[in-house]
Structures are given as C-alpha cells and as structure tokens.
C-alpha cells in the first residue's frame, strides 16, 4: 500500500468520524430517544444543562482535533515537516488536555467508569500529541538545516 493510498483511507475515515461526531452532537438536541437515554441511563437527569454543555464542549474539541489531523494528513504526501504541522500537533495536544480536564472534572460530579477512562485516554493522547509536536518542531529544524547544507 502506498503512502498516498494510506493517507487517503485515513482521511476518509477521519471525515466519517467528523460526520459521526457532528451527528451525535446534533442528536443531543434533535432526538428525544437520546435525551431520554442520557437522562435515565447515563445519570444526566440531575444536571442536564451541565452534562449537555460538557458533551458539546468535548464534541467541539473532538471535531477540532479531527480537522487538524485531516489537515496534517493532507501534507503527508508532499512535505509533512513544516512548521504548520508542528503547531497543529501542539494545538491538538492542548485541545486534548482540555477535553481530558473536562472529563476529569466530570468524574467528581457524575462518575462513571467510562468518564474516568475517557479522561485518562484524553490526557494521554494530549501528552502524546504535545510530544509529537515537539518532535515535529525538531524535524523541521533538521530539515531546514539540511536544505541549507550544500
């Protein structure tokens, strides 16, 4: 499988995921079934507004991360080691840490095992993205130096 094909398949999956996240966010308001499920089965009945706000914030963050990832993947075929990609990974890292923090705070108000797992996964993903951002930044520096080595 070539890099081009791999990048295209991954991007297609990312776009599908973006559509899914957007649809789920919309379903919170449109679908009565989802509302009932959240209230009865997921413990949101006590503070629906807070719960919905948390889901929307995390959904927005997830969409943003997916858009940034798709933009990074677009450059893979040509030249991925550019300053923009390094900055994108740093932004994704910060966004994931923010989502992790939201889930972490939620643990104190509406604890579920999945919330704790999500908090851990988001915090770890954020740290991973921040590390990747720094690695990319160094790669950009190396590339620039290599380009100026005649």
């Amino acid at each position: 499988m070539t890099l081009k094909t791999l990048s295209k398949i991954t991007r297609a999956l990312l776009y599908a995921l973006m559509a899914l996240v957007a649809a789920l966010m919309a379903a919170l308001f449109i679908s009565a079934d989802v509302r009932t499920f959240m209230e009865n089965e997921y413990g949101a009945a006590g503070s629906t507004v807070l719960f919905y706000a948390m889901l929307l914030v995390c959904g927005g963050i997830a969409l943003w991360i997916l858009i940034e990832l798709a933009a990074v993947l677009k450059t893979v075929e040509s030249d991925p080691f550019v300053e923009r990609n390094a900055a994108a990974f740093m932004r994704m890292g910060i966004a994931a840490e923010a989502a992790g923090l939201v889930f972490f705070v939620k643990c104190f108000f509406m604890f579920t095992i999945m919330t704790a797992v999500c908090a851990l996964v988001m915090i770890l993903s954020g740290l991973f993205a921040l590390t990747l951002g720094m690695v990319f930044r160094r790669a950009v520096e190396y590339k620039r130096e290599n380009e100026l080595t005649i």
Binding site: E145, L148, T149, I150
Partner: protein, 72 residues
C-alpha cells in the same frame, strides 16, 4: 563567521556560476545560497568537487572573519 569567497575564485578562474554548478552537480539555486553566505554547512564532497573544478584549496574559498556583533 566563515565567509565564502566563491565569487572571487570564479572570477579568477574565469568560470561562470552555471558552469561550476553543472560541473559539481548542484543546482544554481544552491550555488547562489553558497555564494551569498546563506548556507548552514558545506559537504566535503561539494568542497572537493569545487576545489577540483577551480583547481584551488578550501582555504581559497573559505575564510574566517571576526564577527562584528560577536554572535556565533
């Protein structure tokens, strides 16, 4: 800092930039980076090819000059 005196050597030997670039296998754009002191480093293989073509030594091309602002 290290100053590249390639222009002077080219003029002395009567060789054009394009001719040198072709002879040593680099692009004119890269030769221009070298000539204008914008390069970060020079490969031994490039230096070797330049010296061979211009019949000179690295010291004829590269020169150490004191930095005015003291920056490295």
């Amino acid at each position: 800092m290290i100053r590249v005196n390639l222009d002077i050597m080219l003029a002395r030997r009567g060789v054009s930039g394009g001719e040198l670039a072709e002879a040593i296998g680099i692009t004119q754009a890269n030769l221009s980076i070298l000539k204008t002191n914008k390069g970060k480093a020079i490969r031994f293989s490039t230096l070797d090819a330049i010296c061979k073509k211009l019949n000179c030594t690295p010291g004829d091309i590269l020169e150490y000059v004191e930095d005015n602002n003291g920056a490295e």
